[in-house]
Structures are given as C-alpha cells and as structure tokens.
C-alpha cells in the first residue's frame, strides 16, 4: 500500500498541481469567453436577421459537428500555416471557446424560443424597444430555463480540456501521463488522483449552478 503513495512525491505532486492550474486557466477563460460569444451567436440565430442569421447558423452548425480534437489541431497546427501563431495555451483557449460557443449558441437560441411569445408582445406593446425587451424581460427568463443545459455544457468544457494533451499542452491529463510513464506502479494512483480532481472541479461547478438556480427561482 505504501507503494500507492510513492507516486505522490513532492516533485510529482507539484508537477500535477501545476497542470491543474493550466486546466483551470484554460477552463475559466474559455467558459467566460464562450458564454459571452455563445450568447451573442444565440441571439443572432434567434433574431432571424435576413442572410446574416442563416450564414452564422451554417458556420455554427459546421463547428458543432466537428470533433473538438480536430478543432484543437486546427488552431495549433493549421493556423500557423496562415501566419497566425498562437502559443499552445491560447491555441487551446481559441479552440475550446470556438467549439463551446457554437454549442452554447444552440442552447441560448432554444432558451429564447422557449420564452412565451406573449412576453415579447406584452413588452413591445408596453413601449419597450426590442433591445429593452431582450435585456429586461426575455433574456432573464431564458437564462433561468437554460441554466441546467449550460452547466452540463460547461462541465464538458472542463473535461474536454484534457483533449489538449493531444497537442502536448501541459495540462493535468498530459502531466498525469508523464508521471505514470516513469513507473507503471504509478498508473493507478495517478489516474485515481486525476479522477478525484476532475470530479471535484466539475462537482463544484454543478454546486455553483444549483446555488444560482435557487437564487434565481
């Protein structure tokens, strides 16, 4: 049993925790950006602006139907061919944000469509502009309905940061692989460690979501 803890030398543990830091960094930045961008795209899709909305909708559908790993490869390996050189951390953030924005946009569009038509008509007939109707009446009601699917999407974002190990971003999963490559006795303890860390991270996220849900209800 003592062998079990051998994996967690100070150096290994520090190395893994640094990886966790990168995982959390990519996640937090991508969550914030994709919530903003996804909301904007979702509203564009919902508003059915002539030409523009269907163009955005088509692009959004393409992104949504690609494997995330392919998008990560694209931002890290293909963009430099077009003269865009992103550091590995930011290449991951761009890929995660692009993919998650597309997923969230569909959730936002659906949430907006689930708001009763009467809410729009009541507000517009009351003299509110389209923008005021959105901000004060429709979006707050839509987000309330959208919290559970948004949170499950954000949880998958956090989990999917592990895919960036595919481009050798030194996040938690990649570093875990490095550590257990030293000694096959480390495989189970390190994977177990990663299991607990990812679980706590995402479970924490769902607890925050529950708190929000209760506060808004």
């Amino acid at each position: 049993m003592s062998e079990f803890f051998d994996a967690f030398t100070g150096a290994n543990l520090g190395y893994l925790m640094d990886g966790l830091g990168i995982t959390v960094g990519v996640s937090v930045i991508s969550v914030v950006l994709s919530l903003i961008i996804g909301s904007i795209i979702g509203i564009i899709l919902f508003e059915k602006l002539p030409y523009f909305s269907s163009l955005v909708g088509t692009l959004n559908n393409i992104v949504r139907n690609l494997p995330l790993l392919l998008i990560i490869f694209f931002t890290y390996f293909a963009l430099p061919q077009f003269g865009v050189h992103l550091p590995i951390f930011w290449a991951t953030v761009v890929a995660m944000t692009g993919f998650q924005s597309a997923m969230l946009a569909e959730i936002v569009r659906g949430g907006l469509e689930a708001v009763d038509r009467g809410q729009f008509e009541g507000a517009r007939a009351n003299g509110l502009s389209n923008m005021q109707t959105m901000i004060h009446i429709v979006l707050p009601q839509a987000y309330k309905k959208m919290i559970p699917p948004i949170i499950s999407q954000l949880i998958s974002l956090v989990k999917d940061t592990s895919l960036a190990s595919g481009i050798v971003l030194a996040e938690l999963t990649y570093r875990g692989q490095i550590v257990y490559a030293q000694n096959s006795n480390y495989i189970v303890p390190v994977l177990l460690f990663m299991t607990i860390v990812y679980f706590l991270l995402n479970y924490g996220l769902s607890l925050i979501a529950k708190w929000f849900d209760r506060r808004l209800a």
Partner: protein
C-alpha cells in the same frame, strides 16, 4: 380629431385575406366595441393598430403617425397606445409593481418616486394594493388582467386597445375586470377599442359598435342602433346566438 383611421386597409396571411377593405375612423375619447364571430379578424384588426401585425395595403394612421410607412418609429406609437391581451402577458420575471413601473422608467424616464406613486395609485384603482410585491404567477387570472390594465395605464396612453380581455377568465373573475374597464371608460378621456363577447359591457359603455365577419366590417352603428335594430342579417344572427347564453 381622429385617433385611429383605417383607409382601404388590406391584410393577408399568405393567400388568406385576413382584413378586407377596412375603412374605420375612431375619434379621440370614443369607446368603441368590436364584435363578431371568432375568425372574423377582430383581433387582427386591433393588433394592426399598435403594429403587432403589419398591413399590406392601404393607409393606417394612429395618433398622427402613418403605420404603413417603414420610417415610422413604432415605439413612439406604442408609447401612446396601450394594449391589454387575452392572456395578460405580464412580465413573469418581475413583481407586480415592477410590471407597472418598468416601461415608464425605461421609456418615459419617469422620476422613480413619481413612478412609484403613480403605480401605487393605479394598484389602488384596480383594487390590488396588497399585491404590489407579489409575483404574477401567484395571482388569479382576474387579478393578472387588472394588473395588466394598470401596467398599460401607467404609460398614460391616449388610447387603450383591449383584445378579448375577459375571454381567458373564469366567469366569477370577469366582473372585476369589466368594472375596472367601465371605470376607465366613464372617468377618463381615453380612446378605447375593445374586442369582446361581453354584450352587457358593450351596451353599458360603448359609444359605437362595430360588427365584423370574414375579415370585413359589416356594420358600424351607434350602440343603441346596433342592439335595438341591427341592419345586417349576420349581425342579427350573431346577436341572437350570443344573447341566448
């Protein structure tokens, strides 16, 4: 002075001709009731007046604005023309008092203390002061509709449109809502256009009755003339049907 004027207005939903040759003039301060069988175009007509439905042909002038002109700012009309809906359409995410105060705050930039004072007076008028901080979901249909009326009145509109305001209510709730409407008709100079099936209300408060069927205005008479001696056979038939209830 005319508040609302339709000239040869046509409205289509695809191939369906929803409003046919509508010519109608409503003066400021008039109370007009619009009746007719379901599917006759009453709701469509009333919804064109604040631009919730667009017209395809003809001219529609409301409060001096031309609604068929794409340059017309619809929000300016809606500021002066309120609407009360069959299904209330209260803001589900706002308390009762916030429902009433929101549009005056955002659109009229009314001072907050003044806004609150007016809202409380309106709650008093509709008899729901104790519900100021309630959420709409906790109210009965009749209470919701009285709040919806208060919300419209808070904008101090020149005209108020009622689109079947009592049709979704339980019978015992209808009286309270009609009382509030009767009070507005009697005690204010507001122009009122009411789509309803409540004939006793029409008889009691309307200056004029308009009868519609199949997207056309078939009869436009003073209230007395309409109920005592309807000219149109379809209006006669309609009246005999609704009065048998």
């Amino acid at each position: 002075m005319s508040m609302i004027e339709f000239k040869d207005v046509q409205k289509y939903y695809g191939d369906f001709h929803a409003l046919y040759d509508i010519n109608l003039k409503i003066d400021a301060g008039e109370t007009v009731v619009l009746i007719g069988p379901s599917g006759s175009g009453k709701s469509t007509l009333i919804r064109t007046i604040n631009g919730l439905e667009e017209i395809e042909e003809g001219q529609l002038e409301v409060d001096g604005f031309d609604l068929h002109d794409p340059k017309t700012d619809m929000n300016k009309i809606r500021k002066n023309v309120g609407m009360v809906f069959q299904h209330f359409n209260l803001y589900n995410n706002k308390t009762v008092i916030e429902n009433i105060m929101l549009a005056p705050r955002l659109v009229l930039k009314r001072d907050e203390a003044e806004n609150k004072k007016i809202a409380m007076e309106l709650l008093e008028q509709v008899g729901l002061v104790d519900k100021a901080n309630a959420m709409p979901s906790s109210l009965s249909g009749g209470q919701k509709q009285r709040i919806a009326i208060a919300r419209s009145l808070a904008m101090k509109p020149k005209a108020l449109l009622f689109d079947e305001p009592t049709s979704a209510l339980d019978p015992e709730m209808i009286g309270d809502v009609l009382d509030v409407m009767r009070d507005i008709a009697k005690n204010s100079s507001m122009t009122m256009l009411v789509v309803t099936h409540e004939m006793s209300f029409a008889k009691a408060v309307a200056d004029r009755v308009i009868f519609m069927a199949d997207g056309r205005i078939l009869e436009d008479s003073s209230t007395e003339a309409f109920f005592d001696n309807p000219k149109e056979p379809r209006a006669k038939k309609f009246l005999s049907q609704v009065e048998h209830h």
